[in-house]
């Protein structure tokens, strides 16, 4: 009984349902009549046979899902209603990924003769692959060589086998993997044991990222990650590991070029980047229709020509921002150091363990342990905390330098925003302007204390939560973060975006912040007081707990102070948070729905929470605790007439 729009079944969240091409063709080999709009196949529960539609009569969820399941075997199957109800999300399937086993339809350009030639990865990857695996192999080989039971020759053989396996895997990978960029599709196939066949529609390619670790760089190679905008699913991505830097650059420019005449369709950003903002969402349909005829002509390339289509000219782009050495002062205040230190220590222990070294038996460790026994507990604790802080600070600096060395943010002539960074592993990230839905300036408490902030892009296809995806700037001065956010959004003035003057929320919001922070703190304090007699030796905890409520009150006051919102010409600006203060500028036309929430407590306080729902970033951004009238007014100003009003 599902009623997806034609073509929609393979469209992941946030993607263009190109199945809705105006001429009604289903591009991915799906028979369009299976999804006919007349509803004849929708199998709605009719009184005559309410329980017998679909192959799973007991499950009740019938459906077009069943019919599409056959066409799109990406693990899609008709879900039972019981399954569907709790989360209700369609299973994600890949964006325009033609799954294995589905022969492309006859109309598919990618499979036709006009597609480009199949290309191999660069042969130098044969050298990189063992290098990369070497790190993992060293302990294993060492253990086999040192502690192996067998006699000399057997021992050596045992050590060589893993090496041989790694080499064989590398060779087989290189020998079998092919890729090509056709007129409409980017395709990858190959793999010996793990066979893979991927195909992405070119007009859905949103990101082309280049990444090169030191081994790659030694040989002038780079990994190319081609993404379609599905943030997390593996199916929406295609990874070429690895090609030459020049080839990676060519692919990047070829696939992201949106100038008219290129075979794929989508937003056009040539010349005036400001048109970018006017091409989001539905309006691209026109462009798609308009360039559809060109697709045939433009896409035709000589089979011998690996480029297939002309590559837009290389350009340096205009610089938006670059690294300043003074920003390094923010590095120790980021949490990345702790994480990095943990990872390094963990790896070290694992390697030591693998190599058969018993860390705890080291004499020095024992000696240190003995000495620690001699000093008072608090000295030990202070020393431990201090050393952890120092190491974490140094680690943070190291992570900062490694990650952001050579940072440059540029605006390419095709309108995409390009970020390059990295000391050892270099990374290049391109964001198509048509995918930008906003920007976020975040100030974690420590950074805020010294006037630092982060800046990230809110785009479809990048998950704002995963570490650095979307980060446009290393931790930097607040003003710089606002400036870069504005530049990324093509705004002349940060005050039109993240740095807008804000409307404060009503006093009820302050009361609610106070209640929500102080009440739990007070309960905790009372609990400590009640347990005071039960737990001897923690006499100091009771006075210490008395500090909790005031601290909570301070936090609540700061949380209220940071609450605010503002509706600018093109952006809805939202501010909130204390431990991490966030300013979000969300493109008005990037808002794809609204949600108003009200708990009983909010009802008493006379406020609601308004969520602006979007396809990008976190999925929704909340204006917390505003009067209902203000919420309705905001919705009405962004989408006039959308909310039914009396």
């Amino acid at each position: 009984m599902s009623d997806p729009r034609p073509g929609a079944p393979e469209v992941p969240d946030g993607l263009v349902p190109d199945g809705l091409a105006p001429d009604g063709t289903a591009p991915d080999g799906l028979a369009p009549d299976g999804l006919a709009p007349d509803g004849s196949t929708h199998n709605g529960p009719s009184p005559d046979h309410p329980a017998h539609d679909g192959p799973f009569p007991d499950e009740g969820a019938a459906s077009t899902a069943a019919s599409t399941a056959e066409a799109a075997p990406h693990g899609r199957r008709p879900r039972s209603a019981a399954e569907a109800a709790p989360h209700g999300r369609r299973p994600r399937s890949a964006a325009g990924v033609a799954p294995e086993g589905v022969a492309p339809g006859p109309g598919l350009e990618g499979g036709g003769p006009e597609g480009g030639a199949w290309l191999r990865l660069d042969p130098r990857v044969l050298a990189v692959f063992p290098l990369r695996q070497a790190g993992a192999l060293i302990p294993l080989v060492a253990v086999l060589l040192i502690s192996g039971q067998g006699q000399g020759a057997w021992q050596l053989l045992g050590a060589l086998i893993p090496v041989a396996v790694v080499l064989a895997v590398g060779v087989s990978k290189w020998a079998t993997v092919r890729y090509r960029v056709g007129g409409e599709r980017v395709e990858l196939r190959g793999g010996l044991l793990h066979r893979e066949q991927r195909s992405l529609r070119r007009d859905r390619v949103r990101t082309v990222d280049l990444r090169a670790n030191p081994a790659h760089r030694l040989f002038g190679l780079t990994v190319v990650e081609i993404g379609t905008g599905t943030s997390s699913t593996k199916e929406g991505r295609l990874s070429l590991d690895a090609v030459t830097v020049a080839e990676g650059e060519r692919l990047r420019r070829l696939l992201l070029d949106r100038s008219p005449g290129t075979p794929h369709t989508g937003t056009s950003h040539t010349g005036t980047p400001h048109t970018g903002t006017s091409h989001t969402g539905t309006p691209d349909t026109g462009a798609r229709e308009a360039s559809a005829p060109e697709a045939g002509a433009g896409a035709v390339g000589r089979p011998s020509d690996p480029g297939v289509t002309r590559v837009p000219p290389r350009d340096a782009g205009t610089e938006v921002a670059r690294l300043h050495a003074s920003w390094l002062r923010y590095a120790p205040l980021t949490a990345s150091g702790l994480v990095a230190v943990g990872a390094v220590v963990g790896t070290a222990f694992r390697v030591a363990n693998d190599a058969g070294v018993d860390v705890a038996s080291w004499a020095t460790v024992h000696a240190a342990g003995d000495e620690l026994d001699a000093v008072p507990l608090w000295v030990g604790v202070v020393a431990l905390v201090a050393s952890v802080l120092v190491v974490a600070g140094l680690g943070s600096v190291a992570v900062y330098v490694e990650g952001w060395w050579g940072y440059r943010l540029t605006r390419e002539s095709d309108g995409t925003l390009r970020l390059r960074r990295g000391l050892l592993t270099t990374r290049s990230l391109s964001v198509e302007q048509g995918r930008m839905r906003g920007a976020e300036v975040a100030e974690p408490l420590l950074l805020r204390l010294v006037g630092g902030a982060r800046c990230a892009a809110i785009t479809t296809g990048l998950d704002a939560k995963t570490s650095n995806r979307g980060a446009l700037l290393p931790p930097a001065p607040l003003a710089e973060a606002h400036r870069v956010a504005a530049a990324a959004l093509l705004l002349a003035d940060p005050a039109a975006g993240t740095d807008a003057p804000l409307v404060r929320h009503p006093p009820a919001a302050l009361r609610r912040r106070m209640t929500r922070a102080v009440a739990p703190a007070a309960v905790l304090t009372l609990a400590v007081w009640a347990l005071n007699d039960v737990l001897p030796g923690f006499g100091w905890s009771w006075p210490a707990a008395l500090l909790l409520p005031p601290a909570a009150a301070l936090l609540a006051a700061d949380r209220y102070r940071n609450l605010g919102h503002s509706l600018r010409a093109e952006y809805l600006v939202i501010s909130q948070g204390s431990l991490v203060r966030r300013r979000v500028a969300l493109q008005r036309r990037g808002i794809i729905g609204w949600r108003l929430r009200q708990s009983p407590f909010q009802r008493w306080a006379g406020v609601v929470t308004l969520d602006a729902v979007t396809a990008a970033g976190a999925g929704r951004y909340s204006v917390v605790d505003v009067p209902l009238a203000r919420a309705v007014e905001l919705v009405d100003q962004v989408n006039p007439g959308l909310l039914p009003t009396a």
Binding site: H87, V503, R504, G593, A615
Partner: protein
């Protein structure tokens, strides 16, 4: 049985008025406990929080709830669902009691039974008074919840898929759920407790409308 809903020019209009369908605004304002007068909030605290020269004079007319109620059989379905949930909670505690013989489990059992009974009696009726939906050629609009209220609105042009589904329990009552998915990770809009036929018609109708809005819905 709720009447056949036929999409006229802009919104569903019930043909069969066997079950009274709420009009715009109307009884709702006064009908739902604790919810009274929410539409009359304009002005609450507004004067106190203007700042930065931003004009906060409310310009939008007050919100009205969506037009259509869910099927009158929905409360029965919710009741059965609630009873099953409470029974499961009781069963777990009974098994624990039989296994351990801990005295205080008797207390939690009694509390669970009393609270659960209240929940099963109050929640479905309360929910039924609040749950509403509306769909026209511009947007899908829902109001759900009982203690926590949630209004959702999704413009038709941003809808990606429309699904209907029946759980076995729903089929028992001839009900269905229509799920409207957008490109956001914030979750879909859900109209649950519709008459199964009506749900199918609504889904078909919405599918047709969404087809006339091509685009990437993001």
């Amino acid at each position: 049985m709720i009447g056949v809903s036929v999409l006229k020019r802009t919104r569903y209009v019930p043909l069969d008025t066997e079950t009274p369908i709420m009009g715009a605004g109307g009884r709702v304002d006064g009908a739902v406990g604790g919810w009274v007068g929410w539409a009359r909030w304009p002005g609450v605290g507004l004067a106190g929080w203007q700042s930065g020269g931003v004009d906060l004079t409310p310009t939008a007319p007050p919100l009205r709830p969506p037009e259509n109620r869910v099927d009158p059989r929905a409360p029965r379905w919710w009741t059965v669902r609630a009873v099953l949930a409470v029974a499961a909670a009781l069963a777990v505690q009974l098994v624990a009691l039989a296994g351990t013989g801990l005295g205080w489990l008797v207390g939690t059992l009694v509390v669970t039974a009393v609270v659960g009974a209240g929940y099963a009696v109050v929640m479905p009726r309360w929910r039924y008074r609040i749950h509403r939906w509306e769909a026209d050629e511009e947007a899908v609009y829902t109001l759900v919840g009982w203690l926590r209220l949630e209004w959702r609105v999704a413009p038709i042009s941003r809808i990606q898929t429309i699904d209907t589904a029946l759980t076995p329990l729903q089929r028992l009552f001839g009900l269905a759920t229509v799920t409207v998915t957008t490109a956001s990770s914030a979750g879909p809009l859900r109209i649950e407790g519709l008459d199964a036929d009506e749900a199918a018609r609504l889904a078909r109708r919405l599918t047709e409308i969404t087809q006339s809005h091509p685009g990437d819905a993001t």
